[in-house]
């Protein structure tokens, strides 16, 4: 077995472990709710007078069976694992009998469409600004640094609220809620596309700007660290032009930033839950916000599980990718 295979195996082992821990957390934590989740939802329904006692009893039994709460914890866990493997995440409480998978499937495309471009753009611009600021130094650096610090220290949800109020409510330049106008129906038409884009800009920029700030700060400090490296001095001494040297620095400082990118993409789903809630954008974040308000445990659990899996997968790929980019690490993997 080659060293690389060994490395791969070892990594897979770790991630399998992490995945099991994630699954167990996802399974056991909601079951720690005082009483059990079904009791909680039933008592809420009773309070709100949403159903008579006969149908309550029926609902109760359905959920007990669904959650498997009538069996032993070990059996429940095995049951749960089996269902997860089959892609069955259960049934929503609040939107009974909608399956959780379909709720997630409706919301996920919106989230990806909103966040993936925002992350890619913010990451690219942030890294370029950061590297240039570190290399140029002086006023450009100081000004840029303070700007990035401000941009990255504004919590992204605060920034989102301010944008929403300023641009959509006060100035009324862009629509204030949703992914498309009320009364529009999703269709492949220009009108619909334009409407979607109108709704898109605000949440998009609120994410991009914050992301640029964070990336720029990270890149700047990595690049400052690289600037002190001996190879930079040596390259200067040999008369290699500045733009080449910036490229070396950029590449070497980039390695940790690549991890950052992949992790952001992985945590994309969970990353800006609140931004969606603020703009009532119909993605995962808003779904989660609603589910929490309605104590819709199966939906909460489904969403958290999906986020965990996404992040774990991204992490795993980063570890492999990292080896491909950095010859130092690649060498260690293939045992040179």
């Amino acid at each position: 077995m080659s060293t690389f295979q060994k490395y791969l195996l070892q990594k897979s082992f770790w991630f399998l472990g992490a995945f099991l821990v994630a699954l167990s957390l996802n399974f056991f934590l909601p079951r720690l709710i005082p009483g059990n989740p079904v009791d909680a939802i039933i008592s809420q329904m009773t309070q709100e007078g949403r159903a008579d006692s006969a149908s309550l009893q029926k609902i109760y039994e359905t959920y007990m069976a669904e959650f498997g709460l009538d069996k032993s914890p070990a059996e429940q866990f095995v049951n749960y694992l089996g269902k997860v493997v089959r892609g069955d995440l259960g049934t929503s409480f609040a939107r009974y009998p909608a399956p959780v998978e379909s709720i997630i499937a409706d919301a996920l495309p919106w989230t990806i469409a909103l966040q993936l471009p925002a992350i890619l753009l913010g990451w690219t611009l942030g890294n370029v600004f950061g590297a240039i600021a570190a290399y140029k130094g002086g006023w450009f650096d100081r000004g840029g640094f303070v700007a990035s610090l401000v941009a990255s220290s504004i919590p992204y949800y605060c920034f989102a609220i301010l944008l929403l109020y300023g641009v959509a409510v006060k100035l009324d330049w862009l629509p204030a809620r949703g992914a498309y106008s009320f009364g529009m129906y999703p269709a492949w038409s220009w009108a619909f596309f334009n409407d979607v884009m109108d709704h898109y800009w605000l949440p998009f920029f609120s994410l991009v700007i914050v992301f640029i700030g964070g990336q720029a700060i990270g890149m700047r400090s990595m690049a400052i660290y690289e600037l002190g490296a001996d190879y930079v001095d040596y390259s200067h001494g040999l008369g290699i032009p500045d733009n080449r040297i910036v490229r070396y620095i950029f590449r070497n400082a980039m390695l940790p930033q690549v991890t950052g990118l992949a992790l952001s993409i992985g945590s994309l789903v969970g990353g800006a839950l609140i931004t969606e809630a603020v703009f009532s954008y119909p993605g995962i974040g808003t779904a989660l916000f609603t589910a929490i308000r309605q104590n819709d445990y199966p939906v909460i659990q489904g969403i958290t599980l999906m986020i965990m899996v996404a992040v774990l997968l991204a992490n795993f790929m980063v570890d492999i990718l990292y080896g491909v980019i950095d010859p130092r690490i690649r060498a260690a993997q293939s045992g040179q």
Partner: protein, 301 residues
Amino acid sequence: MSGIPVTMDSPPPPAAKQSAQSRVRSFTRMLSTRFYVSATMVAMILFFAFLGPFFWGVGEPKQIVGGLYEAPSRELILGTDNFGRDVFTQLMHGTRSSLVIGVVAGLIATTIGVVMGLTAGYFGGVIDEMLMGITNVVITIPSIVVLILLSIAVGTKSIVTMAIIIGVTSWPWTARAVRAQSSSVRNREHVDLARLSGASTVSLMFWEVLPYMLSYIFMAFVLQLTSGILQEAALSMLGLGPSNAVSLGIMLHWSLLWESVRTGAWWAFIPPTVMLTLIAFSLFLLQSSLDEVFNPRLRGR
């Protein structure tokens, strides 16, 4: 025989000798404007949160003092919220809750992180692999998810419970960084010399390794504190906040639920937003100015 070979070494020139006083002086001179600005901001926020209620408080934070979304007036300078409660009073109490949660969560996270990292870095080998294995697993599981699940599991929460939940999920980065530091300090020769003086392992870790990381640990604490405050706000906005208190996140949760942004009741959501931003900004600035002092490479930039 004896005599000639050993030359008496004269003390170094006076310039090298520094009194404790002058050392303090040169330390304070290294602090930048950035430090003074951020420290002043932090002090003002602390004053506002902890002493403010005695000066400007209008009753209890949850006391209803007026109608729904009353605009700011002379009596109620930030108006009322969706329940008719005084926003200014809530803001002071909310800031206090956020700070308390941040400090407690920061302390918990830093302590766990330092203990894990120090132990792993100092001993190396199997212990290191085990502890870092745990750390890596915790890192790869997104903390916001664990926070959501934990918050649901706990049900009704106090501010302290909230802080504990945040603290126990956010230590791994500190652990990793402290481990890297401690395994490098551990290889310094004075640690071996102290061992040759018969010092026990615990005293080596405490007296020879830990002092080298204090400045770093303090900075890590400031970062953990900041992120604790932000995480609390995020959880609270999602509706998973403490049930018996007001926090900045809870104020924002209400304004999301009751549509104060879209109805234009700016006094209900601008104050907590600005306050959170101020807190985060001043703490980041503080951290970066300290980083500059402790980390000579960044100096003069």
